[in-house]
């Protein structure tokens, strides 16, 4: 059963077709990877899914409540889509840099806040209860992701790998069904990448997630993904299992180039 699918999503910026006629689906519980050379339109595809861009044509559907009825989410704002249960991380880490680790996670809990600003400011009993629950959940999450020892550190002072982990923690704090990871292993060494692989697997189990990710590290992609989509110049040139994609001539061509004519 698909959690997320798109039909013929296309986006043009002026004369450039960044993503062309891209259809895909991500099923419940899967880890799906989106790969492709630089500038292939992977992040743009993510931006269409998360509502940052509206596609020029085509639609994206998201099954927010596991009911089997998918909801059309094209045109919704990013915060609405996050509220429906889809969270993302960014290619270039986008933490709230001057705030603490705990605050970063608490901010991602704000979307479920029911009290209005006056009762929150004056800490009326129900607002205080909500705030306390938020704090507890956030601390619990940090503990589960082994970030609790750094909870009062300013987020930009964390080591790089931990910042990546915090970004995932922050996304998890919104209680998503579907997690979109945009190059989670960017800038990581082989050891860190291996840890990340285990980490992604463990959070998928623990939080019952479906994962859709963009990644360049082929080791990670080949090991972890159930299925792979390959984009090149905005076109989908292949999709299938790791093995199928690896042996696809068009993929090799896109990554390695065509041999020059003799």
């Amino acid at each position: 059963m698909s959690v997320l699918y798109a039909k013929n999503a296309t986006i043009r910026f002026g004369g450039v077709v960044a993503v062309n006629d891209f259809s895909f689906e991500v099923n419940q519980g899967e880890i799906v990877a989106l790969i492709g050379p630089n500038g292939a339109g992977k992040t743009t595809a993510f931006n269409i899914i998360t509502g940052v861009y509206s596609p020029t044509a085509g639609d994206v559907y998201f099954d927010a409540d596991n009911s089997g009825n998918s909801l059309k989410i094209t045109g919704l704002s990013p915060d609405r889509i996050t509220k429906l249960g889809m969270a993302r991380t960014f290619q270039n880490i986008r933490l709230f840099k001057n705030l603490t680790v705990l605050e970063n996670v608490l901010i991602a809990k704000h979307l479920r806040m029911k009290s209005n600003f006056l009762s929150a400011a004056f800490t009326f009993p129900w607002a205080r209860k909500e705030e306390r629950a938020m704090q507890e959940e956030a601390l619990q999450l940090l503990k589960e992701l082994k970030l609790d020892s750094a909870k009062d550190e300013i987020s930009s002072s964390l080591p790089y790998g931990m910042q990546r982990r915090l970004e995932i923690a922050r996304a998890l704090a919104t209680q998503p069904r579907l997690l979109l990871l945009d190059e989670p292993a960017a800038g990581m060494n082989p050891q860190e990448t291996e840890d990340l692989t285990a980490f992604i697997r463990s959070i998928r189990e623990k939080y019952d997630l479906t994962v859709f990710m963009i990644e360049h590290h082929m080791d990670l992609v080949m090991e972890i993904s159930d299925r792979i989509y390959v984009l090149d110049f905005g076109e989908m040139i292949a999709h299938g299992t790791a093995e199928e994609v690896q042996n696809n001539p068009r993929v090799m061509e896109a990554y390695l180039g065509v041999e020059a004519d003799a």
Binding site: D79, A108, H110, F122
Partner: protein, 368 residues
């Protein structure tokens, strides 16, 4: 590494309570002993504190570069002016064109008029915010500046409501004879702002300031929260405007030219964008500083010899140089985005000691 001292919650509350008691005693003492000149300056300091706090919420905490404060202040000031002057004086006051019959017979107590002014400013902010808050950075600054001018020009031309360019004189000077009005409102504003920023909404505001794209991706409705911050800021600016009108006893549109907003901008930049403690310090420094440098505007002679340069205008030159120095050497303001905390204050002697005994310390001492 752990040099920070920890204080239990109860002790912290007790210290805060103690601080307020001392502050109130100080205000009571000042209220009874200062002359009317100093009292006026202190009242102005308190009013500017409120304006600085309201502007810091929008600019420093939510990261919206808004310059509309003077306009919102004008709305509050006029609400108090129009609704608190005694009905029998109105005929004489509105001699060019009689006051609009709908408001001619309404006279409100000062507090009600002040709150009404705050509400009206908030409503106007809501209406302005809807289109304007879609803009970012400098564009937002220009648009809000424009709206503040529009408000002023509308007030200049609503002859039968605002008395136009003539202004409104002889407003009952409720706040000028005492420090209590302005200082209690300033303290309430400070407490409210602090509570708001500590709440989940405050964190959402800060998230928008830090990275609005990430904030939106984390489910924060940017538009709603920006408007909220803008409206709260305008409400308190309106309240401050009301206090201001009652302090001066007169309002006219020229008082609310947009350079007035720069004073508040100066206060928050000097005190530190994103620090309420800094805003309070900034408001007192700027307001009192401008007042006490006034001697430089008078001709000065020592031993019969006139000192050159001491003439009207020197004050602003010196003041500007001071500001340039501060901005050059403390470009994040006096407090940066830190607040005074009891841990910081009580840990300060320890931090100083450490600084001298173990070489240069890494953190900022008393600021935690």
């Amino acid at each position: 590494m752990n040099d920070k001292i920890t204080i239990s919650k109860n002790k912290r509350h007790l210290l805060t309570l103690l601080f307020f008691v001392v502050a109130l005693l100080l205000i009571a003492f000042a209220n009874g002993s200062v002359n009317s000149y100093i009292r006026r300056i202190l009242n102005l300091c308190a009013i500017y504190t409120i304006l600085g706090l309201s502007m810091n919420l929008v600019n420093g905490f939510t990261g919206l570069f808004s310059l509309g404060q003077a306009g919102f202040m004008a709305i509050g000031a006029y609400a108090v002016a129009i609704f608190t002057i005694p009905i029998e004086q109105r005929v004489a006051l509105y001699y060019l064109e009689p006051i609009h019959p709908a408001i001619a017979g309404i006279q409100l107590p000062f507090v009600v008029a002040m709150l009404l002014g705050g509400m009206l400013a908030a409503v106007v902010a809501f209406l302005i915010g809807a289109p304007v808050l879609r803009l970012r950075g400098d564009y937002l600054a220009i648009a809000t500046l424009g709206f503040s001018e529009i408000i002023r020009i509308v007030f200049t031309n609503l002859q039968n409501i605002t008395n136009g360019a003539l202004g409104i004189k002889s407003i009952p000077s409720v706040t000028s004879g005492t420090l209590w009005w302005t200082f209690s409102v300033a303290i309430l504003t400070l407490v409210f702002m602090r509570l708001l920023i500590k709440s989940s909404y405050g964190r959402a505001f800060k998230a928008i300031r830090e990275d609005d794209i990430a904030a939106e991706a984390m489910g924060i409705n940017l538009f709603r929260h920006k408007v909220l911050s803008f409206v709260i800021g305008a409400f308190f600016a309106g309240i401050a405007g009301g206090l201001y009108a009652a302090l001066l006893g007169t309002v006219d549109p020229k008082q609310f030219y947009f350079p007035l907003t720069y004073n508040f901008l100066l206060i928050i930049v000097l005190g530190g964008m994103g620090s309420f403690s800094g805003t309070v310090i900034g408001a007192f420094l700027v307001t009192a500083g401008l007042e006490f440098l006034r001697v430089m505007d008078e001709p000065l002679s020592i031993g019969g010899m006139a000192i050159p340069l001491f003439r009207p205008g020197l004050r602003m030159v010196v003041f500007s140089i001071c500001l340039m120095l501060i901005v050059l050497f403390y470009n994040r303001g006096i407090m940066g985005d830190k607040e005074f905390t009891w841990e910081g204050i009580l840990g300060f002697p320890k931090a100083v000691k450490r600084k001298f005994s173990r070489g240069p310390a890494k953190d900022g001492g008393g600021k935690v």
